[in-house]
Structure formats: structure tokens, C-alpha cells
Amino acid sequence: MKTFTQLVKNLKNDFSKLKSIRVAVLGDSATQFLSQALRGTGYDYGLDLNIWEADFNQIERQVFDPTSELYEFNPEIVVIFHSSHKLLGRYNKLKPEAYSTLADSQMELIDGINSSIGLNCSAKIICFNYTEIDDTVFGNYSGKFESSFIFQLRKLNYQLMQYASGHAGFYICDLSSIQNLHGRKTFFQPSIYINSEMVVSIEIMPDVASRTLDLISAMNGRVNKCLILDLDNTTWGGVIGDDGLENIQIGSLGIGKAFTEFQYWAKKLKNRGIILAVCSKNTESVAKEPFEKHPDMVLRLDDIAVFVANWNNKADNIRLIQSILNIGFDSMVFLDDNPFERNIVRENIPGIIVPELPEDPAEYLEYLYSLNLFETVSYSNEDAERTKQYQVEAKRSIMQKSFVNEDDFLKSLDMVSVIEPFNKFNTPRVAQLSQRSNQFNLRTMRYTESDIETISTSEKHLSFSFTLEDKFGDNGLICVIILEKEDSETLFIDTWFMSCRVLKRGMENFVTNTIVQSGTRHGFKRLKGEFIPTAKNGMVEDHYKNLGFTFDNGFWFLDLKSYEERTAFITAKPVNLQ
């Protein structure tokens, strides 16, 4: 991690090529250094944070006044930082009989802030939670006594999580866990606080900024999707090819414990929807043996979406994994105990994240925890199904090789797509895909759940979600279209994104047929499309051209009357089609 001084040096760099985001920082303590650290860290995350900082202790005035500078700034993200110090200050001034109301009244304030921001702009909110201060007035008895400060503070942190789980655009940045990791002595420097009102030490500032940026960049679709594991001395202790099945270290004894706990961590990630892959220099049958036969293995073959074990170099093997999964290298994390392999991968695969695992396997987990590698701003049940879907994809690509004719292959898949407008069941998934689709995304408009709800009831829009199922399995919701009625003749394709899992299945043709039919039925004459280039969506640069649209003055047009239905081997199952 960079030091604060190094982050400040970043401020002189050229931000002009980076994606710009308007961020408002509102705090009840001094936040100048925090703002500098956020902008400096943003540079390293590829983001140009355009930060507007409220004057000291102006949270309520800015938030509750609809004509305030905050709303004039029109932030995309608002960072709210109520400090534990100020909270303690409020507690100190309460009458003892009111001590036990602290958490509830603070929660009321936060709810008011959240609602008011929601009414006055469309920003997402990042709320820092409360770092623990134990005033020890009640000693350990605090835990038995609701009026104690630490009881109220912990209750507040808990209530904050409950609140966040019920409010879509409201996110918590877990400051408290940073203090837990580094200790209060590092987090807080009393002499500096006395002189500057700063409640976060300069030493810990980079950690706070990086944890905040994890959240901001996840909001912008930057999330890690895949964990690639080396096997020998990473997933288990020892070398399976030399030591044999009985002698590798895994289980409850000695260093085996470290690998078992590591595997549980990987398994939890898999259950959350992170794709696990194996990349090992081994003979495949030997490498698979522990997964099949070792009683203490936590990970099993069906946890692994892509299993690559051979004697080729690891950079090539990771490229192979990437070609099967079809996700960006910069969303992959590669763990290997061998510094040499790590360097080869790092040097040959730009963007991939290769943590410097500690030498001692006992340290692996604590180190990995500290990196916060798998930030996310959403979770849906489909995430948990992801491994199965990628395994199915691997089978499909093997079968495809046995067909000479592409059409014969597609026909053999028996593909069915359910087409629905947005509704309360698919809204979370639509919003989530909108946040994370980077490659097959024509305009990269990011929509939250509440945006999607608005669109679903809007008179000006037609919305479509598509699923895709075939004989190998169900891919779930994989494509979203939002059409905007621009005038009586023109339907503008505001949004078209698709999961890369379903490339080369004729889905593009099928979707075009569907929206042309819908447009015709509603009496429109043409479709109008636009491609807005980003660093990641080069694959759809010629999308509209390939579908027969013609280019005119920055936009792509398709005449509905002369449209000839395109070939697609997908059966539609329309439900209340718009």
C-alpha cells in the first residue's frame, strides 16, 4: 500500500484520460486529507474523482437544504463520515437516562439524510460505520448494560447493516474493520486530533481511501470474478506428484490446518459466485486425485469451473482459462506460492491480480483478508449458480468441436429464451447486470434497482429481459434491452447489454428480431442505436453494422419495414411482451 505522501504526489498526475466521477465528501471531522487520499488513490484505480468537499461539520445543512451547494454539484456518490468522536461527544452531553437512545436517534438522523439525498439527487451513498471507542466507564459491564457508550456504538453499527440491507442505494464502508485489523493505536493519533480535528491518522489514511475506492470502483463495474488457484503448496501442503496422496498436508493436523482453512475460504467465495479455476503444473490425473479421493479436501472437482493441469507455462494456461470463461484478465486473481510463476504471469498477462502470498502458508489467510479482493455492490441467487453455468459452458465448447457446421451445432442445443419486460422479480438481476456488464455493452449506462423500477413503469420506455436455456442448462437472465420512444417514428436503443457467456449463439439476431417485431407492433418506423466506446467494449464496435444498421451522423439506424428476419435457432417464450 502506498503512503499518504505518495498518494498526495499522485495528485499532480494527468487524470484527463480517466473516467470521471463526481463524489461529495461530507464529514463532521476534518476531511481535507481524506479527500486528497481518495483522489490520489482513485488515480491508481483508474478513476478521476472529482471531489466536492463540504465545509467542516456541514452534513445536515448541506443535506436538508434542497438548494445547497451539494445538490448544485449533483454528485454521483455521497460519502458520509460521522465520526465516533462526535458520536461520543453527543453521548457525553445526554442526560444519563437518555444514554440508551443514542443509537436509535443516530439511526433516525442517518435515515433522514439518506431520504433527503434520495429526494434531491440520484447519488449512491457510502456511509462510514463507527470505529470503536470504549470509554470503559462501565468496564466489562458495558456488555450487560444498554446505556453504556460501547453498547450503543455496537448497536448502531448493527442497525446500520440492517438499514443498508433494506435500502438499495445505501452502502457501508467498513471503517470499523480497518481499525480492527490495524488497531486503534495505528488508526487514531490523539496529538494530531487535538491539533487538527482529524480522527483518522495519516498512517491509516491510505487504507481508508482504498477501502472506499473498492466500493466506488465496484459501483462502476470493476469487480473480481474469478480466483485461479495453483495446487502444490497453495491449495494443499506438499507436492502431489512427489509426495503422493497420503502425504500431502491437509486436514486438522499441523500446517494442514492452514490449507484446510484456506480451502474453506475459497469454497465460500465459490458459493458467493466467484468462479474457481485451477492452474497447475502437474499431470492432470495426478492433480485431480486429491479432489476425488482425499477425505480432508474441502474443495471438490464440482467446485472448480475450469481445471487446467499440464506442463505448459502458466501464462498460456491462464489465457486458456480466460478464453473459456470469457471475462477480462483484470477481473481474475491468481494465487501461487511460487514467486517465479507469479512473476511470469504478472509480466505476461496485463491487468491480472497476483497477490504476493507470504512465504509461510500459516499467513495466507490473514494476508488475503487484508486485501479485500472480492468487493461487490450486489448479490443475487444467480451468483451462486455461476460455477455450474461455466462448467456447462466448458462441456458445450467441447461438444461444439464435434460439429462441422455451426448451424447444426446451434440447432442441436434446443435453445429457449424467456422474454419479459422488467418486473419486480427480474429487477435486481437486471440492475446487477447493468452494474457489471463491461464488454458486450453498447452504451454502458449504469442503472440501479430504483432506476430500473422507474423505467419499468415509464410510458416512454419499452423494456426487455432475455433468458437463455439449452439442453445443457439454464444461463438465467443474460440480455437486457431498454428502448426509449424518441419520437413517434423512432425507437432509441438506450441500453443493450449481454452476458459474454452466450456469445456466438445467435442471440444478437434473436434479440434484433424481437425488438423489430415489438417496434413494428407499436407503429414505429425505425430503430436508432449508438455505440459509446469504453476501454472494455471494443468487441461490440461493429455490432450494429453486423446487424444491418446503417450509420448516419453518429448513430446507427434500422428501417423496420424493410427488415428481413435474421436467422436464429432460439425458440421464444414471451411473457406479457411489451
Binding site: T5, F33, Q189, S201, I202
Partner: protein, 79 residues
């Protein structure tokens, strides 16, 4: 470590922290003489100095030095 040595190390710390290679310090230098040395960057400088010399100033000391010479004396008294 003698006073001159501390002064020269301080100059390096100031240059690094203020990101300005032009900074030149003497014992009689005050905040007014150094561009970018304000009440905010003062805090940053103090923390950089503490880290470099592996010491901690008290809350009172942080606001007590009238010039670099006094800061140098302050560091010596802590060593």
C-alpha cells in the same frame, strides 16, 4: 546526530512531503518562508518527521516551534 545533520534530513522530509524540490531550510526559516507550509500541511510534516526520526511529539509541542531551529532542538531533546 548533530544539528546540521538533523537540519539536512529535515530538508529532505520537507521536500518529499510538500513534493517540492526547491525547499531550502535554515535554522531561522519559518512557515511564512516556505511555500505550501500551512496549518494543514504542517500536520502532514509533523507525521513525516515523527516517522523518520521514530519519535512522537506531544499535542502541545506540535504547535510550539517558532522556526526550524526550535524544531531541530525539539527533535534533539526527544532523541
Amino acid at each position: 546526530m548533530d544539528k546540521a545533520e538533523i537540519l539536512s534530513q529535515l530538508q529532505e522530509i520537507f521536500r518529499d512531503t510538500l513534493d517540492d524540490q526547491e525547499v531550502t531550510l535554515a535554522y531561522e526559516t519559518t512557515a511564512n518562508d516556505v511555500e505550501g507550509w500551512d496549518s494543514l500541511t504542517h500536520i502532514h510534516l509533523v507525521v513525516s518527521i515523527e516517522k523518520h526520526f521514530k519519535l512522537r511529539f506531544t499535542a502541545k509541542e506540535i504547535q510550539s516551534w517558532k522556526n526550524i531551529g526550535e524544531l531541530v532542538e525539539g527533535i534533539i531533546s526527544k532523541k
